[in-house]
C-alpha cells in the first residue's frame, strides 16, 4: 500500500521542482517528469492491486494534519478510487509518452508542469473526501486543462479553451456556492460526515436545492446534453493528446464524484435526473454525430454519449430498490465501460493525432496503407461499439441484464443509441478503408498499448463475467477460436494459412464428432463444420489479394457458428451470434468495392442483434427450453435478429451488395452457411418461444407470408441482374424465403422440408458461388455480358452448375425436387393457399434466372478476351465435384438426408412422426402423394443421355462463326453489350413487371436514414459556437433542474 497523500505530495513537489529544473536543463526536467509519472503509475497501481488481491480490505483513510474526519481534510481511497486513480495515471503516462515522441510544444518545462498537475488534479478529485478540497482540486484540474487545451496555440484551440474557461467558471461557481451552503446547512465539509448528518435532518426543498446546485455544477463538467457545447469544441479544437487525457482520465474522475454525490448526498431525484440527463445525452449525441464531418468532433460526440450512458448506469447503480445481484452487475458494467471508453477513446484520439487532416475525407483509405494503424483503429472501434470479446460488449451486456424489467424502455433507449453509434462509427470505418490513402504518422506506441489493454480486458471480463451471466462456453470451441487467431502468424504465406486453416477445421471436426448427431444442434453442427471445411477447401488462395487476416476471420466465423449451434442458452447464442456477425463484417469489408456493403451489413447486423438482445432480455428465462411469453413483442424482437441474417424482406437490403461485393472466397460461406444460422435461430425461436406447434398460428402465418414474399420478390429481382454474384445473391435470399415458409408451417412435414432445403440450398448455392468464384477468377469480372461460351473452356464447371441449377429450380431428378415436394405437401396440408400460390409463382420465375445463368455464362459465343481461359483452379474443381456428386446422390437417395432429419425431430414432442413414410416401390409417401427418387433419376438420366446422343449426331451440321463476324449495318460493335447475345434478355419482361421490382424497401430504409440525418442536422444547430449561448444553456438547464426537482415554486 502506498499512502495516497504520498502520491499527491510527491507529484506536487516534483511539479515545483520541474518548475526550477526547466530553467536550467530541459533534459533533466523531462527525465524528472517521466520519473514522477512512472512513480505515480506504480504507486497507484500498487494500491489498486492491493484492493484487487484483497490485501487491502478497508478503504484507506488519510488524516491530513492528524485531524480526524470532520475536523481536518481527509483522503478516502476505497476500491473505486484506487481503480480510477490507477486509470488516470495510466492514461497520463501513455499520453505523456505519446506527446514526448511527438515533441512537446515550447516552452517544454511549462507544459510538463501543466500536464503533471492536470493528472494530479484529477487524482486529487478522485481521492479527496472533503467537499471544499474537491473544489480546490477541480480548480487545479480546470486551470491546467485551460492551459493545455490552448497549448496548440492555433485559432481553434484557443477558442475552445476560452469557451471551456467561461463555462467551467460557471460550473465551479455553482460547486463552490453549493459547498458553502452545504457547510451552512450541515456544519461540515467532510463527505462522510455530511452523509451521516444528512440522515438526521429532514430533506426540505431548500436543502434539495442546495444538492441540486452541486449536481448542476457537476453535470456541466460531465458534459450532458445540451450544456456540453464547450466540451465538443474542446474535443475538436484542442491537441488530441490533451483530449485523450481529458476524455480518458479527467472526466472519469468527475464521474466518480458524481457517483459519490449520489452515494453521500441522498438526493431523492438522483435516479430520475441521471435517467433524464444520462439517457438524453446518450441518445441525442449518438444521432447528432451522424452528420459530423470532423473526425475529432465526431469522436467527441461519441465520448459525450458514452458518458451519458455512464450517468444513466449510475442512476441504476445507486437506486436502493435494485437487487444486490443486479447492483453487482451494474457495478461491473460501469467499471468495464470506464475502462473501455478510457482506453478505446484515448487510442482513437491519439490515432487522430497521427492523421494530418481531421476531416472525414482526410481519413479516406488510410487503413489500407497502415496495417498497425488499422489494427489499433479496428480494435478501438470494435470495443467502443460493443463487439465481442472486447470490454465494451460485456459492459453493454451486463448493464442490460441488470436493468430491472419494469424499466425495460431503458433497454430500448440503450439499444437504439447503440444502433446510432454503429451507423456513424462504421461510416468512419468505411471511409477509412475505401481506396488508397496516404501514409500516416508512426507515433503509435501509446494507442497500441491501449488496444492491447482493451483486448486483455475483454478476455478478463469474459472470464470473470460470462459464467455469472449464465453464459457457458464449450471449451473445445474456445480452443478452436484460439487456434483461429493463431493462424494469423502464418500470414506470411497464404497457402500455409490455407493449409493450416484446413488442419484446424479438420481437427475441429475430429473433436466435435461426438457432438454431431441426432438432434437439432448436432445436425446444424455437422452442417457448419463439414460444410465450412468443404468451402474452405475452395478458398485456395489463388490470388494475391487475399488479406492477411482473411483466414483467421474465416475460422472465427466458422467456429463461432459452431459455438452458436451448440449453445444451450440464449445468451451464449447471442455472444456467438455477435462474434459471427462481426467476423463476417471484417470479411465482407475485405472486398475492394464492398466498403459500403460492409457498412450496411454492419448496420443491419446491429439492428438484428440488438432486437434479438432486447427479445432475450424480455424472455422469462435464458435456457433453450419452452418459455411462455405473452404478446407478440418478444417473439417479434427475437426473430428479427434471425430474419436479418436470412435477409428476409424487409430486412434484405444489405444482402445484394454484401453478397455481390464480398471477397469471392467468402461469399459461398455467407450464402451457404451463415444465412443458415438464421434458419437455426428461427427454428429454435419457433420451437421454444413462439410456442408449441399447435398454438399461435397468426404470428407464424405472418412469418410464412414474409417468407413467401421474400421468395417471390427476390426471385423476380434476381432475374434482372447482370452481375453473376448479385444474381446469385438475390437467388439465395429468395431460396431462404422458402426455408422460412417451411419453418413457419411448423408441421412435421414443413420442418422436414425446411431442414431438407437448408442442406440442399447449402449444397447447390455453395456450389454455384464456388463456381462463380472460379469463373470470376478466370474471367476477371462478374459482369455476365462479358462472359459467354465458357462451356467449352470449363466443362466441369458447366456440368456442376447445370446440376446445381436443376437442384435450385426444383426439377427432378436432382435433390432440389424433394425439398419442393415436401414444402408444397406441407403447405397444402396446412391449407395456406395464398402462400402456396405465391410460392409456386416464385419458383416458376426462378426458372428465368436459372436459364439466364446458363445462357449468359456458358452458352453462346466465347468472347475474344476470354479465348484462353482455363478450367477453374484445381481445389475449386474438387469442391465442385464433391458437391456435384452429393447433389446427384441425394437426388437418387433422398433418404440419406431425410432419415437424419427425421431423427432430429424425433426427440421433439409433436414431431415424432415426420408426416410421410417410405415404401419400397413408391419411394416417399405422404398424405398427398408419393414419388420414387431412384426411379426418377434413372428415367431422367436415361432421357438426358438420349438427348445428348441426338445432339452429338446433329451437331456436325452447326456452322461456327467468329464473334466479330456479324452483319451490323456499318457499325462496328465494340462493347460487350453489343456482342453478347444474352444482353437485355428479359427487357420486355422487365417492362411488364417494373412496378414489382421498384426498390421500395430500399427507398424506405434510405428515407429513414435521411430523416434521422435531417433531424440530427436540426438538433446540432443548438451548438452555435457562441459562448454566450453556451452559458445561457447552462443557466437555463440549471433553472429547469431547480424548478422541476425541488418543491420550491
Amino acid at each position: 500500500m502506498v499512502n495516497p497523500i504520498l502520491i499527491i505530495a510527491i507529484t506536487l513537489a516534483s511539479a515545483f521542482f520541474i518548475g526550477i529544473l526547466q530553467v536550467y536543463s530541459k533534459l533533466w526536467a523531462r527525465l524528472f517528469f517521466f520519473l514522477t509519472l512512472v512513480f505515480d503509475f506504480f504507486a497507484a497501481g500498487a494500491n489498486f492491486y492491493g484492493f484487487l488481491s484483497g490485501r487491502i480490505t478497508e478503504p484507506i483513510l488519510v488524516k491530513i494534519g492528524g485531524f480526524p474526519p470532520p475536523i481536518g481534510i481527509n483522503l478516502l481511497v476505497g476500491k473505486p478510487e484506487a481503480a480510477i486513480g490507477f486509470l488516470i495515471f495510466t492514461i497520463a503516462l501513455l499520453g505523456a509518452y505519446h506527446w514526448e515522441r511527438k515533441g512537446f510544444p515550447e516552452p517544454q518545462g511549462k507544459i510538463m508542469v501543466l500536464f503533471l498537475l492536470l493528472s494530479l488534479g484529477a487524482a486529487g478529485i478522485t481521492f479527496t473526501g472533503d467537499f471544499f478540497n474537491l473544489f480546490v482540486f477541480i480548480e487545479i484540474t480546470s486551470i491546467a486543462a485551460y492551459g493545455l487545451v490552448a497549448s496548440a496555440k492555433t485559432e481553434k484551440s484557443v477558442e475552445a479553451a476560452f469557451k471551456y474557461m467561461v463555462v467551467g467558471s460557471i460550473s465551479s461557481t455553482f460547486i463552490l456556492l453549493s459547498v458553502v451552503f452545504l457547510y451552512k446547512a450541515t456544519g461540515s465539509l467532510n463527505m462522510m460526515d455530511i452523509a451521516s448528518r444528512i440522515r438526521n435532518i429532514s430533506l426540505t426543498p431548500i436543502y434539495i436545492l442546495i444538492l441540486l446546485m452541486f449536481l448542476a455544477g457537476l453535470l456541466i463538467e460531465l458534459e450532458v446534453f445540451p450544456i456540453n457545447g464547450w466540451a465538443l469544441d474542446v474535443y475538436q479544437g484542442a491537441d488530441p493528446v490533451v483530449v485523450a487525457v481529458l476524455a480518458g482520465a479527467v472526466v472519469k474522475a468527475f464521474y466518480l464524484v458524481f457517483l459519490k454525490a449520489g452515494t453521500y448526498l441522498t438526493l431523492p431525484s438522483f435516479f430520475t435526473l441521471s435517467l433524464i440527463f444520462g439517457g438524453g445525452t446518450y441518445l441525442v449525441s449518438q444521432f447528432i454525430a451522424w452528420r459530423q464531418k470532423d473526425v475529432k468532433r465526431f469522436l467527441g460526440y461519441s465520448s459525450v454519449a458514452q458518458l451519458g450512458l455512464l450517468i444513466l448506469s449510475a442512476g441504476f447503480f445507486l437506486n436502493p430498490t435494485l437487487p444486490a445481484f443486479s447492483k453487482h452487475l451494474i457495478g461491473a458494467s460501469i467499471v468495464l465501460f470506464i475502462f473501455n471508453h478510457s482506453f478505446a477513446k484515448s487510442s482513437l484520439f491519439l490515432l487522430a493525432d497521427n492523421v494530418k487532416s481531421s476531416q472525414l475525407h482526410g481519413w479516406r483509405g488510410i487503413l489500407n496503407k497502415n496495417p498497425l494503424f488499422k489494427f489499433i483503429f479496428s480494435t478501438s472501434v470494435f470495443s467502443i461499439t460493443g463487439v465481442p470479446p472486447f470490454p465494451g460488449f460485456w459492459a453493454k451486456l451486463l448493464l442490460i441484464f441488470a436493468i430491472p424489467k419494469n424499466c425495460s424502455w431503458v433497454i430500448g433507449l440503450i439499444l437504439v443509441g447503440a444502433l446510432g453509434e454503429i451507423v456513424y462509427y462504421y461510416r468512419l470505418f468505411r471511409e477509412a478503408s475505401e481506396g488508397e490513402g496516404e501514409k500516416v504518422g508512426t507515433n503509435l506506441a501509446a494507442p497500441l498499448t491501449g488496444a492491447i489493454l482493451l483486448i486483455g480486458a475483454g478476455l478478463v471480463a469474459w472470464k470473470m463475467f460470462a459464467t455469472q451471466m449464465g453464459i457457458m462456453f464449450n471449451s473445445t470451441i474456445l480452443l478452436l477460436l484460439a487456434f483461429s487467431i493463431a493462424i494469423y502468424i502464418l500470414g506470411f504465406s497464404r497457402i500455409l494459412q490455407w493449409a493450416g486453416s484446413l488442419a484446424v477445421v479438420g481437427y475441429g471436426i475430429y473433436r466435435m464428432v461426438p457432438e454431431m448427431g441426432a438432434n437439432l444442434h448436432g445436425f446444424f453442427l455437422a452442417l457448419v463444420l463439414v460444410g465450412s471445411a468443404l468451402l474452405l477447401l475452395a478458398t485456395y488462395p489463388t490470388s494475391k489479394r487475399t488479406s492477411w487476416t482473411f483466414y483467421p476471420a474465416y475460422l472465427v466465423v466458422v467456429f463461432s457458428m459452431a459455438g452458436l449451434v451448440l449453445a444451450r442458452n440464449w445468451l451464449t447464442l447471442f455472444v456467438f451470434w455477435e462474434l459471427m456477425s462481426w467476423a463476417s463484417f471484417v470479411l465482407i469489408n475485405m472486398g475492394s468495392r464492398a466498403k459500403k456493403a460492409a457498412w450496411i451489413y454492419a448496420i443491419f447486423s446491429a439492428i438484428g442483434a440488438y432486437s434479438m438482445l432486447a427479445g432475450i432480455y424480455l424472455l422469462p428465462g435464458l435456457s433453450l427450453t419452452h418459455l411462455k411469453v405473452a404478446g407478440i413483442m418478444v417473439p417479434l424482437l427475437l426473430v428479427t435478429g434471425f430474419l436479418v441474417k436470412m435477409a428476409t424482406a424487409p430486412l434484405h437490403v444489405w444482402a445484394r451488395d454484401a453478397y455481390g461485393e464480398s471477397p469471392d472466397e467468402f461469399t459461398p460461406l455467407l450464402s451457404g452457411i451463415i444465412s443458415k444460422m438464421g434458419v437455426f435461430g428461427s427454428l429454435i425461436a419457433i420451437l421454444y418461444v413462439i410456442g408449441n406447434i399447435s398454438s399461435g398460428p397468426s404470428f407464424r402465418y405472418i412469418l410464412g407470408w414474409l417468407g413467401a414474399l421474400t421468395a417471390f420478390f427476390m426471385t423476380l429481382i434476381a432475374v434482372f441482374q447482370d452481375d453473376l454474384k448479385r444474381l446469385l445473391a438475390y437467388s439465395s435470399v429468395g431460396q431462404v424465403g422458402y426455408i422460412l415458409i417451411g419453418l413457419a408451417i411448423a408441421s412435421p412435414l414443413g420442418w422436414n422440408a425446411a431442414l431438407y432445403h437448408t442442406v440442399n440450398h447449402f449444397i447447390f448455392k455453395g456450389l454455384l458461388f464456388v463456381a462463380a468464384a472460379g469463373i470470376i477468377y478466370r474471367v476477371g469480372t462478374s459482369y455476365m455480358p462479358r462472359m459467354g461460351g465458357l462451356i467449352r473452356r470449363m466443362p466441369l464447371t458447366f456440368l456442376s452448375t447445370l446440376v446445381a441449377i436443376i437442384a435450385l429450380a426444383g426439377i427432378p431428378p436432382i435433390s432440389g425436387f424433394a425439398g419442393k415436394w415436401l414444402l408444397y405437401s406441407a403447405l397444402i396440408e396446412k391449407g395456406w393457399i395464398f402462400i402456396t400460390v405465391v410460392t409456386f409463382l416464385a419458383s416458376t420465375v426462378a426458372f428465368l434466372y436459372c436459364f439466364k445463368i446458363l445462357h449468359s455464362v456458358f452458352l453462346g459465343q466465347l468472347q475474344e478476351e476470354n479465348s484462353n481461359v482455363k478450367e477453374v483452379p484445381f481445389p475449386l474443381a474438387i469442391v465442385e465435384a464433391i458437391l456435384f456428386v452429393s447433389l446427384g446422390v441425394l437426388g437418387a437417395f433422398p433418404r440419406l438426408l431425410l432419415d437424419p432429419i427425421n431423427r432430429v425431430f424425433a426427440g421433439i414432442p409433436g414431431m415424432e412422426s415426420p408426416g410421410f413414410h417410405y415404401e419400397k416401390t413408391l419411394g416417399v409417401v405422404s398424405n398427398l402423394g408419393h414419388w420414387n427418387a431412384l426411379f426418377l433419376m434413372v428415367f431422367f438420366v436415361g432421357s438426358f443421355l438420349l438427348a445428348l446422343i441426338f445432339f452429338a449426331i446433329t451437331s456436325a451440321r452447326v456452322k461456327k462463326v467468329g464473334q466479330l463476324d456479324v452483319g451490323y449495318s456499318g457499325e462496328v460493335p465494340k462493347s460487350p453489350e453489343d456482342l453478347h447475345f444474352g444482353y437485355g434478355l428479359y427487357d420486355h419482361f422487365r417492362k411488364a413487371v417494373k412496378w414489382f421490382i421498384y426498390p421500395m424497401v430500399t427507398k424506405i430504409w434510405e428515407g429513414i436514414y435521411e430523416w434521422i440525418s435531417a433531424f440530427a442536422e436540426i438538433v446540432r444547430r443548438i451548438y452555435t459556437g457562441n459562448v454566450n449561448t453556451y452559458a445561457a444553456y447552462v443557466i437555463l438547464i440549471s433553472i429547469i433542474i431547480f424548478y422541476f426537482f425541488t418543491g420550491v415554486k
Binding site: A13, G19, Y24, V62, G147, K184, S188
Partner: protein, 231 residues
C-alpha cells in the same frame, strides 16, 4: 430580446439562490465543525489568528492546493504568452523623475512590508498570500517606473519552486516525525501571541509568502514583457 431573456433567466436563478440563503438568517449563530477550530484552535495550534490556523493547519491541504493553483496559473500564463505575437497599442511614456525616485524608495519598503505581513501571519490579519501580493506590487511599481528594470527570471523560478518544495517538505516532516502529512506537532508550539509560536505555521506562511511573491512578480513580468519586447 436577448437581454430580456438573459435577465429573465438570471432573475429566476437569483430567486432560487435567495431562497437558499433565506434559510440562513443574516448574522445568526450557526456553528458547524468550525466550533472546534474556534474553541480548540489556540490549544492545538497557538496561532492567534484563527483564520491562519485554519488556512495553514486544519485545512492546510487546501492551501497547498491553492498555492498549486497560483503556480499553475503563472505557469500556464508563461506558457501561453511565451510565443504570443501580441500587438502593442499604446506608446510608453517615460516616467517622471519624481515617480522614479519615489519608487526607488518605496520598493524596499514594500518588500519589507510584505515580509512583515507574512511573518506575522499567525498573529495579525494577513499572511503569505497578502504579503506575497504586496511584494509583487513592489515589483510592479518598479516595472512601471523603470524601463530597465527586469527581475531575474531564473531567480524568480528558483525561489518559487524552492518555496513550494519547502512547503511540501514541511508536510513530509510532519508525515515522518509527526505521524501525518502537514501535522503541526514537530516543532514546539510555543506561547500564545508570540512571534515564535504556532509550530510550523509561520514557516509555512513564510514559504507561501516567498512563493506567492515570486509567482505574482513573475506573472506580472510575463504579461508585461510581451509588450516590452516589441518596442
Amino acid at each position: 430580446m436577448r437581454k430580456l431573456i438573459a435577465i429573465a433567466f438570471l432573475l429566476i436563478l437569483g430567486f432560487f439562490m435567495l431562497k437558499i440563503v433565506s434559510v440562513f438568517p443574516f448574522g445568526e449563530e450557526r456553528w458547524g465543525v468550525s466550533r472546534h477550530y474556534v474553541d480548540k484552535g489556540i490549544e492545538e495550534n497557538r496561532a492567534s489568528n484563527l483564520v491562519t490556523s485554519i488556512v495553514v493547519n486544519y485545512r492546510g491541504f487546501d492551501t497547498l492546493g491553492e498555492v498549486t493553483v497560483l503556480f499553475l496559473a503563472a505557469t500556464a500564463l508563461a506558457f501561453l504568452l511565451a510565443t504570443c505575437k501580441c500587438r502593442k497599442k499604446y506608446e510608453r511614456i517615460e516616467a517622471s523623475l519624481t515617480l522614479k525616485t519615489a519608487s526607488d524608495i518605496l520598493y524596499p519598503l514594500l518588500i519589507l512590508f510584505g515580509a512583515y505581513i507574512f511573518i506575522h501571519g499567525h498573529l495579525t490579519p494577513g499572511g503569505g498570500f497578502q504579503g506575497g501580493t504586496v511584494i509583487a506590487s513592489a515589483v510592479m511599481l518598479m516595472l512601471l517606473s523603470h524601463f530597465t528594470f527586469h527581475p531575474n527570471h531564473r531567480a524568480l523560478s528558483t525561489i518559487e519552486g524552492l518555496a513550494g518544495i519547502i512547503f511540501v517538505l514541511i508536510g513530509f516532516a510532519g508525515f515522518i516525525w509527526g505521524g501525518s502529512f502537514l501535522a503541526n506537532n514537530i516543532l514546539p508550539l510555543g506561547h500564545w501571541n508570540r512571534l515564535f509560536s504556532a509550530g510550523v505555521i509561520p514557516l509555512i506562511y513564510i514559504a507561501i509568502g516567498f512563493k506567492v511573491g515570486a509567482e505574482l512578480s513573475g506573472l506580472i513580468t510575463d504579461m508585461y514583457k510581451v509588450t516590452k519586447e516589441e518596442e
